[in-house]
């Protein structure tokens, strides 16, 4: 019974401390808002996904062409749009990065 009481007490203390920990650690935080990516970051993520998708598709197409799964004609027809898509995504990401850097320099802030 004593062991059970001790284990129960330790469990209760641990659980209370765990739940209260964020408030004990930061009683008066500078900012208590849940940091979520803003629209700019969302757009960057979407472009990064598009870029990765296009690059992965290009890599897969090259490999399938090498293994004979994709004929020369199919390869020629498919590779150009995929390259274009990858290039567009890369260009958009570069432009966005330049713009963000420019804004940072103008505002003198660090993100």
């Amino acid at each position: 019974m004593t062991v059970a009481l001790a284990v129960g007490a330790v469990l209760a203390v641990v659980c209370v401390v765990l739940v209260a920990l964020p408030f004990l650690r930061e009683p008066k935080p500078h900012d208590d808002r849940l940091a979520v990516p803003d629209e700019v970051e969302q757009r960057r993520l979407s472009l990064a996904e598009d870029r990765d998708r296009a690059l992965a598709a290009l890599k897969e197409l090259e490999f399938d062409h090498r293994t004979g799964k994709v004929s020369d004609d199919d390869y020629r027809a498919l590779v150009a749009p995929l390259r274009r898509k990858a290039a567009e995504a890369l260009r958009a990401l570069d432009l966005r990065a330049e713009r963000t850097d420019g804004e940072r320099i103008r505002t003198g802030g660090n993100r």
């Binding site: 469990l11 641990v14 659980c15 739940v19 993520l45 990064a48 598009d50 197409l61 799964k69």
Partner: protein
């Protein structure tokens, strides 16, 4: 001690309610510290549930019959191993295991899946909290494993069917699978609630889904092997509702694992993927409901209880909530691209998805129909083997064929010329094999021949994929064939791990077709010295032997096996009489033939007072390929699950800035 168990469960319930309610508030209002606190509550609930589980385990180990659960499911003479596995032998213990695994998964998932992003993770916590709250509520108010009574002198014992080494691993594996499907469900719902329907939730849960699916698959195979060696009817799968209960979510998760690749590669099928995740989770809940509610008559359904309506209510709530959420977020789930051709890799994935879901739903109907007819007419209709076999053949055989077609077809579109080139060898090999099988007399079963021919086609296409891929890697400069082969797998673990899993499914198909379509069965009464013949094996009955164990008495028939004049050995089918449980179990005898992969399977149907035996003998060709499939399946799953440093770097670059803890 029961007080400690009860207190731990109440603590767990309070923490889960906190993580659900406060976590929802924090995610909705965007409060960082509250969201962290709700996440910590999940960690606390795991600790509390762990204490509750330890209390129950200690009570089992100490034979503390003041715990009603211990008295109902064990006895003093039950061996320690089975005494401990009785933890999940009854309803209350099973529910506790569900909660323990759920809390463990929840902690691990929220602590490791940081790529999901803060705003998604903030919503994942309350979804996990909600599911946990339901199970904790059941354990605290409806089915407590810590109910007490005046300590009995001895317990009622454990169902003899559960006194088998497989019981140590089969139920935990299944639960790791069932419960594991909660993680992708929670992340999918979290993404919908946060309004972030990009790929982050998929990336964050990829391994969790794969692991849950692999556990569920291995758990089913272990269950099949348990049924084969323990239940004593000569089979491994009987379309029992509880067996189906595990198969349905596995089929839905298999469909999801395929269709999610289309979303990753083409940005399509977002609605379908969320629906599939919800379906897999809903079916895993339904499976637990079937097993634990006592609503169905099944060899696996060891309990009768009143938790059915609770489960049904929760399943309805989850289904309605999920559909509402998906409908609300439909505008965010629009595809970025369209299917370019009906002859493409993504199209074959789509066909595979339709067949898998159709198979899962027809099985669901087979399970539900008797329950509905009981409800409406008062009489339970029976849905038996022919129904399931029909749909298994109608959907399963095309699925098998698609496993061979898929790898040979390119993404986006494929021309006839390319198809002709890639299909030539697998097709030629399959046709030649089909003709050879017919010539060898396998035509007695049309389904068997079709299954074998398709299987050869799939194996040939997988082999060709590995050969062509290795050759391409070698041409790209990798050193040697072995180096090229390992580089091929290392560069795309999911694809080639998937092919190994496909090979496992083929082995399974060959094993199932061989052992069911081509099995031989003989039944006869033998007196001492009599013999019978089955598939070329002569069986001679030599009498009985008996023995005593701590909790049962055994009687074994002594059957000598000969092939021609060669003595192959002695098999001992018989029965066990369990004292505390007052039950008799069938104990089968099996002779494995490693060369042919077949089994000679003996069942002592009746042990007669005049010293004779009613012996049932089955020759099951290729049945051991089913168990070999399990090993290959684990290998393929591990390849697919193994971390890929290159992929990790790519994802780190993609999500840099968007990942962190709450």
């Amino acid at each position: 001690m029961p007080d400690l168990g009860r207190a731990a469960l109440v603590t767990s319930l309070l923490l889960l309610v906190y993580s659900f309610t406060v976590g929802s508030w924090a995610a909705w209002r965007g409060r960082r510290r509250l969201a962290e606190s709700a996440q910590n509550a999940l960690l606390g609930s795991f600790a509390a549930t762990l204490v509750a589980a330890a209390v129950l385990l200690a009570a089992l180990a100490r034979h503390d019959f003041s715990f009603r659960y211990v008295a109902d499911h064990t006895s003093r003479e039950l061996p320690l191993g089975y005494t401990l596995t009785a933890f999940w032998g009854g309803q209350e213990g099973s529910l506790l295991l569900w909660l323990l695994v759920l809390c463990g998964y929840s902690c691990a998932a929220v602590l490791t899946a940081r790529r999901a992003g803060r705003e998604i993770l903030a919503w994942v916590v309350p979804v996990l909290g909600l599911v946990g709250t339901f199970f904790a509520l059941l354990l605290v108010f409806v089915a407590s494993p810590f109910a007490t009574q005046a300590a009995a002198a001895d317990g009622a014992g454990l169902n003899p069917s559960l006194q088998n080494p497989y019981m140590a691993v089969h139920p935990p594996m299944l639960y790791l699978g069932y419960v594991g499907l909660t993680v992708p469900f929670a992340f999918a719902m979290g993404a919908l609630l946060a309004g972030r329907t990009d790929e982050r939730w998929i990336v964050a849960t990829r391994r969790w889904t794969l692991a849950a699916w692999a556990f569920l698959g291995v758990g089913q195979l272990l269950g099949a092997h348990w049924a084969y060696v323990e239940i004593g009817w000569g089979g491994y799968y009987a379309w029992d509702p509880v067996e189906n209960a595990a198969l349905m979510p596995w089929l839905a998760a298999t469909a999801f694992l395929h269709s999610v690749m289309i979303q990753e590669k083409r940005g399509m099928l977002k609605v379908w993927n969320v629906l599939l995740v919800a379906l897999a989770f809903g079916l895993s809940l339904f499976g637990t409901f079937l097993t634990r509610s006592g609503i169905i008559q099944s060899i696996h359904s060891f309990t009768q209880s009143s938790i059915g309506p609770w489960f049904l209510g929760f399943i309805c709530f989850i289904t309605a909530g999920t559909l509402t959420l998906i409908f609300w977020r439909l505008p965010l789930l629009r595809a970025k691209t369209r299917l370019e051709s009906l002859v493409s890799r993504e199209a074959t994935f789509l066909y595979n998805n339709l067949l898998l879901v159709a198979l899962a739903l027809t099985i669901l109907w087979g399970v539900v129909y008797p329950l509905l007819s009981q409800l409406v007419t008062g009489q339970a209709a029976t849905v038996s083997k022919p129904y399931y076999n029909f749909f298994l053949h109608a959907f399963g055989l095309p699925l098998l064929l698609l496993m061979g077609i898929g790898p040979l077809v390119a993404w986006r579109r494929a021309s006839l010329r390319a198809l002709g080139r890639t299909f030539l060898w697998p097709l030629a090999t399959a046709v030649a094999a089909g003709i050879a099988l017919l010539a060898l007399g396998a035509g007695s079963s049309r389904v068997g021949v079709i299954a074998y021919t398709f299987s050869i086609f799939v194996l040939a296409s997988i082999l060709l994929e590995f050969l062509r891929g290795t050759a391409a890697r070698k041409a790209l400069g990798d050193s040697g064939w072995l180096g090229s082969f390992s580089s091929l797998i290392a560069r795309n673990r999911r694809r080639y791990g998937g092919y190994v899993v496909h090979a496992a499914v083929v082995l399974l198909a060959i094993g199932v077709a061989g052992s069911s379509a081509y099995q031989t069965v003989r039944e006869t009464r033998l007196h001492r010295g009599d013999s019978m013949t089955v598939a070329g094996n002569r069986l001679v009955f030599r009498g009985y032997e008996t023995s005593m164990a701590s909790n049962h008495r055994s009687i074994r028939g002594l059957v000598d096996v000969y092939r021609g004049n060669n003595y192959l050995g002695r098999l001992k089918p018989g029965k066990n009489q369990y004292f505390a449980e007052d039950q008799v179990s069938n104990e089968v005898a099996i002779r494995h033939d490693l060369l042919t992969g077949g089994d000679l399977f003996l069942i002592a149907d009746q042990v007669n007072a005049d010293g004779s035996i009613d012996l049932k003998a089955l020759q099951k060709p290729l049945v051991n390929l089913i168990w070999l499939a399990g090993i290959v399946f684990i290998g393929g799953s591990l390849i697919a699950l193994w971390p890929d440093a290159r992929e990790e770097r790519r994802l780190a670059a993609r999500y840099a800035g968007a990942t962190a803890s709450l």
